[in-house]
Amino acid sequence: MADPTRQPDRRRELPDRLPRPDALSFTLYVAVAAFVIWCFQAAEMSVSTFIEGVPSMGRLVSEMFPPAFGRMDSIGATMLETFQMAVVGTVLGVALSIPFAVMAARNQTPNRAVYYLARGVITFVRTVPDLIWAIFFVITVGLGPFAGVLALTVDTLGFCARFFAESMEEADPGPQEALTALGARRSGIVLGAVLPAAMPSMVATSLFALEKATRSSVVLGLVGAGGIGIELKAAMDMFDYNEAATIILSIFALVVLVERTSAALRARLI
C-alpha cells in the first residue's frame, strides 16, 4: 500500500548536523579564539627573527660534530649517578605515595579533613615544577645529588599519589566488604583487599614515574642538584660543543633505554 516515491519528504524533520550554538556558547567560542591570538602576540612570535636564527643553529650543530668521546669514562660515571638518583627518588616517592594515596582515596580516607588535606598537599606538590623543588633543596641541603634525590622524591609523590588514589578508588568493593564483615580493621582491608587489587596499575604508574624521573634527573644538574646536567652546562659555557654533543647523545641513549625497558615491563604486566 505504501508507495515509497509518494512518501512526503521528511528531510526537514532531520535534526541539524551540528547543534546550533546558543548566544552564550557563541560568545565563549569568540572569546577563546581572541585569547589564543593574543597569546601568540605576547610570545613575540617573529618569522624574521627565526629565519635570522637558522644560520647560527646550523653553526652550533656543525660545531658539535664530531662528538668528543675523550672523557667518555667520566661522562659515563656521571650518567650512572644520574640514573641512580632517578631510581632512589622514584623508590622513595612511590613509598611515600602509598600512605598519601590511602588518605586521598575517597573510599579509604579516615575522614573528610584528612582527605582534603592529603589532596591539597598532592596538588601543591604536583603543580610546583621539579626544577623549583631542586632549587629549594639545593638551598636547604646544599649542592649535590642529595638535593636532586629529594626533588625527584617530591615530584614522584605528586605524580604517583594521585594515580594510586584513583586506582584504590576503583578497587572492587566486594572483597573490601567481605573483609569488613569478618571484622578486619581499616589497615587489614587496605593491605588485604585494596592494595592487591590496585597493584598492577600501581606498578605501571611507578614505571612511568621512573621514566619521568630519569628525564628530570638529567636537567637537575643545571641548578646544582647533581647529575649530568652540570657537565652539560659546563661544556656549553666553555664552548666545548663536541663534548656537549656526547653528553646529549648519552642522555638520549639513557632515556630511550629506560623508556623501552619500562614499556616492555608494563606490557608483560598486562
Binding site: 566486594g174 572483597p175 567481605a178 569488613t180 564483615a181 569478618l182 571484622g183 580493621r185 587489614g188
Partner: protein, 290 residues
C-alpha cells in the same frame, strides 16, 4: 534443617567437629534477635525494611525468601551494620549491636561468617591467603594474613579449612583462576577460618550450577549439625528453603509476611509471592535445568 544428630555419621564427607559445641543440646539459646528493624536509603525513598523482627536460635537455620528488591540483602547487611539501620534493636551472640562501638563491633563481626552471592575473594592473592584473611580479627599482625609470611600453625589451620570444603589441592592457585563453585567453597573456607558461631549467607548458591549449589548448601548444613552454628540464608530456590531451612521468613516489600517452621509453609501457595511468571520470561536456570 530437620536432621537429628544421629544422622551426622551417615552423611558422606561429614567430619568430626573442630570446636565442639554440643549439637542437640536441650537448651537452644538465641543467637540473634532482631526487633523493629527499619531502613530507608534516602530521605525521599520508601522504606526498604519496615518493622522487621525475627529470632535465630543456636544451631538453627532460617531461610529468608522474597521477591527481588524485597529487602533480603539489606536485612542481612543491617544485622552486622555493614549498612547502618535507621532504627531497631539487634542482639547478636549476647551483645547489643546497635550501641556497639567500632572496636566491639569488629570483635562481634569476627564471630559471624558472611558468604555473599558473588564470593568476594581477593583476586591476585592465592587461595590459601584468602582463607588466612578469615583470621584477620584474631591474628592482628599483617604477616598472618598472607600465605608467604604466616606462621605454620595458621597455615595448617587454613589448609584444614580448605580440606573441609574439599579443595586442598588448590591452595596455591590464584583465586581469580577458579570456577564459580570453587570460589564459593573457598569463601566458605574463609568463613570457617573465622571459627564462626553464626553464619549469614546471601544467595550463596544463586550463581552456581545445581550440583555446586547443592554442595555449598550441604556445607552449611554440616556446619550447623557439627558445630551448632546458626545459619541465616537467603535464596530464591524454594527447594533449598524447604530442605535447608528449619524456619522460613518471607519478606514482601520490606515487611515480614510470615515467619514459621518449615513444615507449616505451603510452598505451592507461595509461588504467588513472586507473581505468575510467563513462559517467555523463564530464567535460563529453569530453561536449562527444568
Amino acid at each position: 534443617m530437620s536432621v537429628q544428630p544421629a544422622e551426622t555419621a551417615v552423611v558422606p564427607g561429614a567430619r568430626a567437629p573442630g570446636t565442639a559445641a554440643s549439637p542437640g543440646a536441650p537448651h537452644r539459646s538465641e543467637q540473634l534477635t532482631v526487633r523493629g528493624l527499619r531502613k530507608r536509603y534516602g530521605a525521599k525513598e520508601a522504606d526498604v525494611l519496615q518493622d522487621v523482627a525475627f529470632v535465630l536460635r543456636e544451631g538453627e537455620s532460617l531461610a529468608v525468601i522474597g521477591a527481588n528488591g524485597s529487602g533480603k540483602s539489606t536485612m542481612l547487611r543491617c544485622c552486622l551494620r555493614l549498612i547502618e539501620p535507621d532504627t531497631g534493636e539487634i542482639e547478636m551472640l549476647g551483645q547489643d549491636v546497635m550501641s556497639a562501638r567500632e572496636r566491639s563491633l569488629r570483635r562481634l563481626r569476627a564471630h559471624v561468617g558472611f558468604v555473599f552471592q558473588r564470593h568476594n575473594l581477593v583476586p591476585r592473592l592465592s587461595v590459601l591467603s584468602n582463607v588466612l584473611h578469615g583470621a584477620q580479627a584474631r591474628a592482628a599482625s599483617p604477616r598472618n594474613w598472607f600465605q608467604a609470611t604466616a606462621p605454620g600453625r595458621l597455615r595448617a589451620e587454613a589448609l584444614a579449612c580448605l580440606e573441609r570444603v574439599g579443595l586442598t589441592e588448590l591452595a596455591g592457585r590464584r583465586s581469580d583462576r577458579l570456577s564459580g563453585g570453587q570460589s564459593q567453597r573457598v569463601a566458605i573456607a574463609r568463613t570457617l577460618m573465622q571459627r564462626p558461631r553464626l553464619v549469614f549467607a546471601d544467595e550463596p548458591a544463586a550463581s552456581l550450577d545445581p550440583t555446586a549449589g547443592e554442595e555449598v548448601m550441604e556445607l552449611f548444613a554440616q556446619l550447623m549439625r557439627d558445630e551448632g552454628v546458626g545459619v541465616l540464608f537467603t535464596c530464591h530456590d524454594l527447594d533449598h528453603a524447604r530442605r535447608y531451612g528449619d524456619r522460613v521468613l518471607a519478606l514482601r516489600q520490606g515487611r515480614v509476611m510470615f515467619d514459621r517452621a518449615v513444615g507449616e509453609v505451603d510452598f505451592d501457595g507461595l509461588r504467588q509471592l513472586y507473581g505468575p511468571v510467563p513462559a517467555a520470561e523463564r530464567s535460563p536456570r529453569e530453561v536449562l535445568y527444568g
